[in-house]
Subunit: 387 residues, 2 copies
């Protein structure tokens, strides 16, 4: 058994913060992907390699079997026992421990009733961690898809000669629900948006806790910039709430306007899939980005680094907004179809010169998929095959 | 007969553009003033000196008498005849011709039934012209006040030993109505806000064509910056209207939010006159400035020069917004009571280094007033006495 899968990250296109106050948010897949290679082995070991976070662990099947037999209920008790098992005694889990916990939890749950398989699992992600780009969800989605395949619960959809393949809706539902389990372990109280984007890709409408995948959206080229300014989502969310309480008559209409930005954007994107795409479509997308960035500044979640991002990209005629929590963190820049590669490269360089990380990528691409080894980018394949 | 009067300019504190769409605007007096010196003479001449615009004209009383006798109706016909008289044959009046027209119109109207007095009138303004700061209204208010005094229609309120004095409400109403006549000649279709601010000073609430002077407002220290970027108010107003038509669901709440900014500001300013002024009052005024500046950017009336103004002043901890039409033009920066003079001077210098004109002044000060010669700033008095 040998399978390669990948899942995308996520970005909020419009509606961050407003969503906390009952407004629409649009979450889109971000084509910086997490890749997972699962290989059946015969050495009686379960090995996990997470080179992004320098984590390389192996357990003998025997110790995992014993662990599983101890535990009857596959939820809270298992998690408690797993924490003990990997030696976490306080509540403060780091990225590495959370990734291990999520893997062991899904592995033991899926193979709970039969033989535990000997396998080696290697994960490599293009996503920066801890920047609100859904890296943990992409990891959980990959884990769920690969382990569900290995357990036989879902098929491997790849046909001979294909590069990539996706699962049917029913299988995606199953992947998503197990990925959500992983997210629960990692985040405690996830919204479910990140794993849904990782599973279905494209764009999701998120409103009052309800997640609605949108049938068709165009693939949009973007730059994804990480300002590398650390921020606390909790503090930023609380700040917006305070501002709404302080100035209700001023802030309530701002949230309404953000809601209308999201709805207008959704409408334009849907038009772009059913009529010829024109420059005017892109003009409107750019205007919506600018408007929302100003609104996010009004909410108090802007940051000088994000102002720099907007200013630097605007000198190249490109429009940017923060994505996610703000106060630093990441921003997205829309590239037009006609934007010349030399402009893109110059912009990326300018942003790197500001001390930012910057990737040319796209939003609206596919969710979780199986890959033929040849369809995995060479540099990623090289890493996945290293272990 | 010898009288010195002055009237302030005006700035829009909040609500520019939104006022066109039925929302509240707050207009405040700007303590960059226009000074007028009117002196009775015995040489049988009427002379006007406008050194700001290099205009120095004299007429013999005889030609003005003849002109007045020709004309029965003191409105459209007089204006038509005055245009002819000063040699304007097409509709394109420059600042100089408009200023002369307004003067002759008020002079001939006020002295229509009696002897025409021989006099010399000199005006000097601290206000830049054509930047939306009400320089023409300040001029019209000064003309109206001085000529009404000279005609005996209103008294000269200055008592022996006073530096400055103001008129009673009834006299101010009369000054305002004649100043509005001057504005009609200069602007064609003025809103009446500028002459009202020049007359009453302080702050006015302007809503759906109705002008309500606010009883008491604190005097606020500001910087007034002219970016010197020329713009067309008409084009900017049309652009906002287009954006509202294009994105009604997005823009309507933005106008509502601006309205709430104006109302909140009015409330805070009124609180500042009846309770001890605290840092929190200033914090709120600063927040309102920032919010409105973002909203004006959403309306599309921002400009890179205004972004620079905001950024430069923020590096000194000071908050700025555009005032008036935007798209360049002028901006105001709030100074806090504790803002040190060295900070103010450094900021002014930084702004001048950007190529901007910048004045340290105040808003909310008195409207039209009579001055004793000694209460006129020395450098202004020197100019007024030069002619």
């Amino acid at each position: 058994f040998d399978v390669f899968v990948s899942a995308p990250g996520k970005a909020i296109l419009h509606g961050e913060h407003a969503v906390v106050h009952g407004k629409v948010a649009l979450a889109v897949s971000l084509n910086l992907r997490t890749y997972l290679h699962l290989k059946g082995t015969t050495i009686g070991n379960v090995c996990i390699n997470l080179p992004n976070i320098d984590t390389f662990l192996c357990w003998e099947l025997a110790e995992l079997k014993q662990l599983r037999e101890e535990v009857k209920r596959l939820d809270a008790e298992l998690i408690r026992r797993l924490r003990e098992f990997i030696g976490v005694t306080n509540g403060n889990l780091d990225t590495c421990n959370m990734a291990i916990l999520a893997f062991l939890y899904i592995y033991l749950s899926l193979f709970g009733s039969g033989e535990l398989p000997s396998l080696t699992l290697t994960v490599w992600s293009e996503l920066p961690t801890g920047t609100g780009l859904g890296s943990s969800a992409a990891y959980s989605v990959c884990l769920a898809a690969a382990l569900l395949c290995a357990s036989g619960a879902i098929p491997t959809p790849l046909k001979e000669g294909d590069n990539t393949a996706r699962w049917c809706q029913e299988d995606l539902e199953l992947i998503n629900s197990w990925a959500f389990q992983g997210e629960m372990i990692i985040h405690g109280n996830p919204s479910g948006v990140d794993n849904a984007v990782g599973t279905w890709g494209g764009m999701l409408r998120f409103l009052a806790g309800k997640i609605i995948p949108l049938s068709r959206v165009p693939l949009l080229r973007i730059l994804l910039t990480n300002t590398r300014v650390p921020r606390s989502t909790k503090v930023l969310v609380a700040g917006v709430k305070d501002k709404i309480n302080k100035f209700p008559s001023i802030m309530t209409p701002v949230l309404d306007s953000v809601d209308a930005v999201s709805c207008t954007c959704e409408k334009v994107l849907s038009e772009m899939t059913c009529e010829p795409i024109t420059g005017e479509h892109y003009n409107i997308l750019e205007e919506l980005i600018d408007i929302n960035q100003h609104h996010l500044n009004v909410m108090g979640v802007g940051h000088p680094s994000l102002d720099i991002l907007c200013r630097v990209t605007l000198t190249k005629g490109l429009h940017s907004k923060l994505t996610g929590a703000g106060g630093g963190g990441c921003g997205i820049t829309l590239l037009r179809p006609e934007t010349d590669s030399s402009i893109v490269q110059a912009t990326v360089q300018d942003l790197k010169d500001c001390g930012f990380d910057c990737w040319e990528t796209s939003i609206g691409g596919p969710g979780v998929q199986q890959h033929s080894p040849l369809s995995v980018k060479e540099e990623v394949l090289e890493i996945l095959n290293r272990y």
